[in-house]
């Protein structure tokens, strides 16, 4: 299947709209069991661009300078707000130090004295192509 660029952009814009005005980046342990760190995003959190691209607004930088708990991070999520409710997440990215996760990290163990910082994040909705195989 192939999507026209305008539709890809519409889908990317939907991410921006759906996350709303009070989105939070939240880092979790496996199964979203323990919230390790959280950071308020800008309003809106993402800036929609062309051809299905949307970029996280990192001005100011999205960071938590005093993580709530220590542990191994396996999820970076985006929630509608900073409430720990399973219905509020909108994006989840897998984090690991090896393999082929969404996010490869040299060290994914967060301490409460660390600063966790997102300095850029870009999401691209794919175009695809018509498949006749």
């Amino acid at each position: 299947m192939q999507l026209v660029d305008a539709l890809r952009t519409t889908l990317a814009a939907a991410i921006v709209t759906d996350l709303g005005a009070t989105a939070f980046a939240r880092w979790y342990t496996t199964g979203l069991t323990t919230l390790l760190a959280s950071a308020a995003c800008s309003n809106p959190a993402f800036i929609a661009g062309a051809a299905g691209v949307t970029d996280l607004d990192v001005t100011p930088v999205v960071e938590d300078t005093s993580p709530a708990a220590a542990g191994t991070c396996v999820r970076l999520t985006f929630y509608l707000n900073n409430t720990d409710a399973n219905t509020l997440w909108r994006l989840q990215l897998g984090v690991a130090t090896s393999g082929a996760p969404d996010i490869t990290m040299s060290n994914n163990v967060i301490a409460t004295t660390d600063t966790v910082q997102l300095s850029s994040l870009s999401i691209t909705v794919p175009a695809g192509i018509p498949d006749v195989t």
């Binding site: 299947m1 990215l93 969404d102 996010i103 490869t104 990290m105 060290n107 660390d114 994040l121 794919p126």
Partner: protein, 65 residues
């Protein structure tokens, strides 16, 4: 009936993989996240999967074609 087999390069394999259907794994994510310790040292840096890495993954996934 005989089974046709041919060798493909990794580059070609990646193209074949990308020619498939759109699915969630095709959504590309790029970015940088960093864990900095209390002394200001970079403890861990998270380089979110790049386009190049996605292509490499695709090539690896179909390299046995």
């Amino acid at each position: 009936m005989t089974e046709e087999r041919r060798e493909v390069s990794l580059e070609e394999a990646a193209k074949l993989q990308r020619a498939g259907n759109i699915n969630m794994s095709d959504i590309q994510v790029e970015g940088i996240c960093t864990i900095i310790d209390k002394d200001g040292n970079v403890k861990g840096q998270m380089r979110v999967c790049s386009v190049e890495e996605a292509e490499a993954e695709a090539a690896a996934a179909v390299s046995t074609l």
